[in-house]
């Protein structure tokens, strides 16, 4: 299935958001936040979040800010 992660296209096997994170190599302990199609997805909701072809996934990490 083709989806977009952080602006880049990926062909993935995963069908849920938590499976996608594992497939892409994100460690379960890594502090990240996720959104799909512009909507926030809490960590607790990731296993139940079904991905669809063309989904826009954002994976964000802490960063310096003003």
């Amino acid at each position: 299935m083709q989806i977009t992660v952080n602006g880049e296209r990926h062909d993935v096997q995963a069908t849920t958001l938590s499976a996608l994170l594992a497939e892409m190599g994100y460690d379960a302990t890594t502090r990240i936040a996720t959104a799909v199609d512009g909507c926030f997805v809490a960590a607790s909701k990731r296993p139940a979040l079904a991905l669809h072809a063309g989904a826009q996934v954002e994976i964000l990490a802490p960063m310096q800010g003003g």
Binding site: N6, G7, L21, M24, G25, Y26, D27, T30, R31, I32, A33, T34, A35, G38, C39, F40, A42, A43, E58, I59, L60, A61, P62, M63, Q64, G65, G66
Partner: protein, 256 residues
């Protein structure tokens, strides 16, 4: 005592964490500033890249309250989603709400800001809105549930100081009981002192410290300026006059 959503800060100097030459210099600057709050953000990071995690460990080690921002957001939806993501990552319901309306000046979009502030407040956020010094906008933000206001001094990163003294004075006078922070545009410690002398409760600085030749030394200079400005405000400054008034008594002066 000034309470920001019920919390008294250890210092009235809020410090941004971006653009420092190194993480060590950032940590040193935060310590020497005695910062009451540090601002942080969220960005895309590939799996395997550890910069975000390393940054988060550094911030946690500083033991200073964090204020996540929604920098770079141009729409209500972007800002609301970013705030929700920040709340989970940083474990705080405080959010410095930025909704930018104009790219050259990074001027806040007050209309979108009010809408985003209303949505976030209803969702339990404690919103610190980055705003222009607009009185009507301030009234709307307070009505939307904001209990703190953060007017700009000048465009972000410009270092121009307080661009509209009259407007900032008017805002302070109209809402005397609302905690207010001058955020953005401050370039040197005298600008920060001036904001505090006007009665603002705190200032938020980033570029002026991070881009100084010696950020840690500049952080200390800002801390002293903020303290001096606050003391001066409490001490109730004299009235400005257009004409001279002799300070040495004229009675008893010799006629020579």
């Amino acid at each position: 005592m000034t309470l920001f959503y019920g919390t008294e800060l250890a210092s009235r100097l809020m410090l941004g964490t971006a653009q420092y030459p190194s993480p060590e210099i950032l940590a040193d600057a935060v310590r020497r500033a005695g910062a009451g709050v540090v601002t942080v953000s969220l960005r895309r990071e590939a799996a395997g890249a550890r910069a975000g995690q390393a940054f988060w460990e550094l911030i946690r080690g500083l033991d200073v309250p964090v204020l996540p921002n929604t920098a770079g957001c141009h729409t209500v939806r972007e800002a609301v989603t970013t705030a929700q993501m920040a709340r989970e990552v940083f474990g705080t319901d405080w959010i410095k709400l930025e909704v930018i309306g104009e790219s050259d000046t990074l001027q806040p979009d007050m209309f979108a800001l009010v809408e985003a502030a209303r949505i976030l407040t209803e969702d339990g956020f404690k919103v610190f809105p980055y705003m222009t010094e607009d009185l009507v906008g301030a009234e709307r933000l307070l009505r939307a549930g904001c209990e703190v206001l953060m007017p700009w001094g000048a465009p972000i990163g410009s270092g121009k100081g307080l661009n509209n003294l009259f407007g900032l004075r008017a805002l302070r006078a109209h809402f005397p009981d609302v905690p207010m922070v001058v955020d953005a545009g401050i370039g040197v410690p005298s600008h920060a002192a001036q904001a505090m002398e006007l009665g603002y409760d705190a200032v938020l600085i980033n570029t002026a410290v991070a881009k100084a030749g010696d950020p840690a030394e500049m952080a200390r200079a800002f801390a002293m300026a903020v303290e001096a400005g606050r003391m001066a405000y409490i001490a109730d400054p004299m009235e400005e006059r257009d004409m001279a008034v002799p300070s040495t008594p004229v009675i008893g002066q010799a006629v020579l």
